[in-house]
Every structure is written in structure tokens, then in C-alpha cells.
């Protein structure tokens, strides 16, 4: 069994890196903007579908990722519009876009699963299961680039305004910033990253599937939380972004281990949900433990 686990590691790391890109997108909405955006469950598939369709049409696989990003951005803009202009609550705005996108994704792909059979492609995909080690290297480059862009953006005037909007929108408006625009911008940025992750993922696994994004938000949250719990919120912003990607890798390593231990792939959704529920409730338990400790100490004194 140990051998099986070791053999599964490279694949798990590669998957973790790719989902890490998506987790960075989730971080932008969930942590920076304080907006629980459920669009991602579908926008990741939109990114994958766009990339797959364009590759099958003969476009350069690397270039298709640009369109994956743009498609993802468009989905974020729709959620932002629903929330800021039509005043629909955040979660519901995301759910509506997510639901609507199911039909859109089907239209893009024409069927529920598009295979990128490498033998029939004119050019090899950017990354693929056929060469996991190389895929890991290329994914690291993508992750580094994304972290670099986010680090730069959130240091700019505009990025600062987006961060402040998630922190205290009241103040930001008083300082002359249109907070609605900042929310839309954050959602566009976030879903652009999710779209990119979708495109990469479709190329890596060799297909785009209508269900590929189901539960994506949970994986994203798990990565963000695992990263924060293990690596802590310290040092600079780039460190925090890096810890999220590491969180995603750890998540996929755990998944690989439990699969080797005999869990069915269909059990994974429940497993993920339980992990995230536990992780989200961690601060509560931490507080209770602290209080308990203090009470014990006080009693002794």
C-alpha cells in the first residue's frame, strides 16, 4: 500500500498545483473580498470547455488558456452584475450564475464530455497526464506567475481599494471609491483565475467534463484553510498566497492517501465536505480550548 501511495504522489502534486490556481481565485473572493462566490463550481468548467473546444478546433493549446481566462472573467462579471446592480445577495448571485452556466457549458462543448485524445491532436497540450513530471514543472511556472500577478495587483492603488472594500466598504466609499466596481473587479479577477485553472485541468486530465467543477468551491476553501492553519498568517502577502497553493497540494495528497486506503472516488465528496466543515469550525474549537485552559489556570491560582 505504501508503494501505491508513493506512486500516486506526483499525480497528487500536479493536481494540487492546478487546483491551487483555482484556490487562489477562491482566496480573492472569500478572503480578500469577503464574498462567498459559488460561481466557481461552473466557471472552472467554462474555462475547461473553452480550452478543449478551441484545441479541438486546432488552436495552440497555450493560446486557448487566454480564452479560458477571458471566459472565466465574463462569468465573474455576471455574478458581480447580479449582486451589485440587481441587489441579489452574494451567495444567491453565485448560485444563479452557476446554474445558468451549466447550460452554457453544455452549449460550448456540445456534449457532456469532450476528450482531448493526444493521438488525434495536431499539437500536444501544455500539460498532460502522459508526462506528469514535466506537467509539475510547467504548473509551478503557472502558479508562480499567478502569485506574481496577484502580489503586484494587490499592491496597486486599485488592488488596495479592492482589499479595503472587503475589509470596510463603509470607509472605502467615504474615501471616494465605487465599492460596487471593486466587487465586480474582484469577482472578474477571481473567476479569471478559476477559468485558467479549468483550462489547465482539462488539458492535464485529457478531457473537459460538464461535472468537472462540482464541489470546486469546497476544494478551494479547503486549500485556503489548510494553507492558513498549517503555514499561519505571517510574513508577506506572497507567502500567504504560496501557502494556499501548498494547502491545495496537501489536500490532494490526503485524497491520494485515503484513496489508496480503500475509499471509493464517489466517497470523496463527503470526505471533502467533512474536512472543510471541520476546518471552518477550527477557530471556534480553538477559542473554547483557550477559554477552558484559562479557566483551569485561574482555578489553580
Amino acid at each position: 500500500m505504501l508503494g501505491g501511495i508513493l506512486a500516486a504522489m506526483p499525480g497528487a502534486v500536479a493536481q494540487g498545483l492546478l487546483w491551487g490556481v483555482m484556490a487562489l481565485g477562491v482566496y480573492v473572493t472569500f478572503k480578500v473580498l469577503d464574498y462567498a462566490d459559488l460561481t466557481v463550481d461552473s466557471s472552472i468548467c467554462t474555462g475547461g470547455a473553452v480550452s478543449a473546444v478551441l484545441i479541438l478546433k486546432g488552436m495552440n493549446p497555450l493560446l486557448t488558456l487566454v480564452f479560458s481566462i477571458l471566459a472565466g472573467m465574463a462569468t465573474g462579471a455576471i455574478t458581480g452584475f447580479l449582486h451589485t446592480k440587481l441587489k441579489i445577495p452574494p451567495i444567491l448571485s453565485g448560485i444563479l450564475t452557476q446554474l445558468g452556466l451549466y447550460s452554457v457549458n453544455m452549449r460550448i462543448m456540445g456534449k457532456s464530455n469532450l476528450s482531448l485524445n493526444s493521438n488525434k491532436l495536431s499539437q500536444p497540450t501544455v500539460i498532460s497526464l502522459g508526462n506528469v513530471n514535466q506537467s509539475i514543472l510547467i504548473s509551478v511556472v503557472f502558479v508562480a506567475a499567478v502569485i506574481g500577478v496577484l502580489y503586484w495587483f494587490f499592491g496597486t492603488e486599485l488592488g488596495s481599494a479592492v482589499r479595503a472594500t472587503g475589509n470596510n466598504s463603509h470607509m472605502v466609499r467615504a474615501l471616494g471609491v465605487n465599492t460596487n466596481s471593486m466587487i465586480i473587479l474582484g469577482l472578474i479577477l477571481s473567476n479569471g483565475l478559476v477559468g485558467l485553472a479549468g483550462g489547465l485541468l482539462a488539458q492535464f486530465q485529457g478531457y473537459a467534463d460538464i461535472n468537472m467543477g462540482r464541489g470546486a468551491i469546497v476544494i478551494g476553501l479547503a486549500s485556503v484553510i489548510i494553507g492558513e492553519v498549517i503555514f499561519g498568517v505571517r510574513f508577506n502577502f506572497a507567502y500567504q498566497l504560496g501557502s494556499i497553493v501548498c494547502g491545495a497540494i496537501i489536500y490532494y495528497i490526503i485524497i491520494a492517501v485515503v484513496l489508496q486506503c480503500g475509499l471509493q472516488t464517489t466517497d470523496l465528496k463527503l470526505f471533502s465536505a467533512v474536512i472543510v466543515a471541520l476546518a471552518l469550525s477550527l477557530p471556534l474549537f480553538k477559542n473554547k480550548m483557550l477559554k477552558h485552559k484559562k479557566a483551569v489556570v485561574a482555578e489553580k491560582e
Partner: protein, 264 residues
């Protein structure tokens, strides 16, 4: 400077919770005026400030700020001309961001934000000088997260942020009410200093009658959504708390004993 004509605002119109907050406010603020605003709970003081700031839009009337009709302008647009400090110390600053980051955002009030760096190196020196004037030791904690500051420190920082880029009008909404008396006095002293040094036109709501009399060149009293008393110059200087209480008694015909207690 600011001209308000027949300003009206009703909350929850047509429901059981209907509240006529402003029932026709007329007010002209001259450049350099430092006006203190008093009045009982529900008199419409905060509503007036919020309407000027654009948090809500009025049902009727007009607000002309520095020659521009801002009656229907969104909050973020007119923010270019306004400096604001709120009653709740948490509202004026972003707790998860550093002191210098907060200042840098305030420094860009009214400016279109682009992709240049959020803080430039040469700004830091200026922020340090400004923070040093608060005399709270914040000048050595530029990168500290604001959530680590006390309520008084946050309020002083908000005050600095509101005036870092000189506003046409400074709006202070009971900005010392949530602080302990000693801290409140300190923040009030900083307020006086900043307003006088920059000769800022200011509108300050307060619950403290002594402060209302001591500070500023003009005092207005609000009651049931209207300005019922407007006094300035020499007349204001010779004012006593007892005069204000008496005035208050007259306008309320003595019905609101509670309000009287709140004011004294």
C-alpha cells in the same frame, strides 16, 4: 459653501415604522464656519450629515456643495469634497490593513485609482510627519495593522485621514461619543488643532453641550427634523449651558424630559 434647501427625508414611508427624520431643513454654511450641531435623539442630526455625505438620497430638497448640485450624486463621487469621521471608531479605518495603507488610500480620495503602486516611498515621510502631530506614537508604527490600535487611536487616525487631502467640508458625526472621557478630550483637542491649522469648514455633531458651546463659531440645534436654533459670533460666545437647556425646553414645550437629560 454649502446650501441646503427644504431637505426632507422619511424612513420606511407608508409602514408602521415610518419615521420622518428631516422635515424641511434650511441651512447655509459659509466658508470657514465651524458649526456644532446639538439636539435630542431622533432630532435628525445624523440623517442630515448622512444626506450631505450621500449615504442616503433625500425625498425632497436640494444640496449645493461648493456650487455643485450634489443632491443625487452617489456617495463615492461627492466623497472627493468631503472628509468624514463616524461615531463608531471601526467604521473609519480598514482594520486588516496597515496604518500607512489606510493613509495612502485617504491621500487618494477623489482621485481615480489606477495601477500605480498603492503607496509611494516619498509619501511615507509625509505620513510620518502627519502622524507625529497626533502625538500618539503612531509615527513609528507605519506598517502596524490598524486593528491593533485602540478606539481613540483609530478615531485620531480617521480624523487625519479625513483631512490628509483637505476637504471642502469636514463632517464629524459624534466622533468622540464612543470613547472614554480622557480619550474623547484628546481626540477633540486634535480635532480643534487640525480644523484651526487648515481653516476647515466643519460640521460637528455632539452630545456634549459644553463642547458645543466651547468649540466653533456657530451652533445649531435640531428638533423633529428641523433646525430650531442657529446662533453665531459674539452671541454664541456668551452662551451658557443653562441658556441651551432653556431654549430646548421652549422648543419641546417641556415634553421630552429624557432628551433634556441626554443633553446635560
Amino acid at each position: 459653501m454649502l446650501k441646503i434647501t427644504n431637505l426632507q427625508k422619511t424612513f420606511n414611508a407608508g409602514t408602521i415604522n415610518e419615521k420622518k427624520a428631516l422635515t424641511g431643513v434650511e441651512l447655509v454654511i459659509n466658508p470657514g464656519d465651524f458649526i456644532t450641531v446639538i439636539g435630542g435623539n431622533g432630532a435628525g442630526k445624523s440623517t442630515l450629515l448622512n444626506l450631505i455625505a450621500g449615504v442616503y438620497l433625500p425625498d425632497a430638497g436640494s444640496i449645493i456643495l461648493d456650487g455643485i448640485d450634489v443632491t443625487k450624486q452617489p456617495e463615492y463621487k461627492r466623497a472627493a469634497m468631503l472628509g468624514r469621521v463616524f461615531q463608531d471608531p471601526m467604521l473609519g479605518t480598514a482594520g486588516n490593513m496597515g496604518i500607512e495603507e489606510n493613509l495612502a488610500m485617504a491621500y487618494r480620495r477623489g482621485k481615480t485609482r489606477g495601477l500605480g503602486w498603492g503607496i509611494l516611498n516619498e509619501e511615507r515621510k509625509y505620513y510620518k510627519e502627519q502622524l507625529a502631530m497626533l502625538d500618539l506614537g503612531l509615527e513609528n508604527r507605519l506598517t502596524s495593522k490598524v486593528r491593533l490600535l485602540s478606539g481613540g487611536q483609530r478615531q485620531a487616525l480617521t480624523l487625519l485621514m479625513a483631512t490628509l487631502k483637505k476637504p471642502k467640508l469636514l463632517l464629524l458625526d459624534e466622533h468622540t461619543a464612543a470613547l472614554d472621557p480622557k480619550t474623547a478630550a484628546k481626540v477633540l483637542q486634535i480635532t480643534e488643532q487640525i480644523v484651526n491649522e487648515n481653516n476647515l469648514t466643519t460640521l460637528m455633531i455632539t452630545h456634549n453641550m459644553k463642547d458645543a458651546i466651547r468649540l466653533g463659531n456657530r451652533l445649531i440645534m435640531m428638533h423633529e427634523g428641523k433646525i430650531v436654533y442657529d446662533i453665531s459670533g459674539e452671541e454664541k460666545k456668551s452662551l451658557h449651558v443653562s441658556d441651551l437647556l432653556q431654549k430646548f425646553e421652549t422648543v419641546t414645550s417641556g415634553e421630552f424630559a429624557n432628551d433634556r437629560m441626554l443633553l446635560s
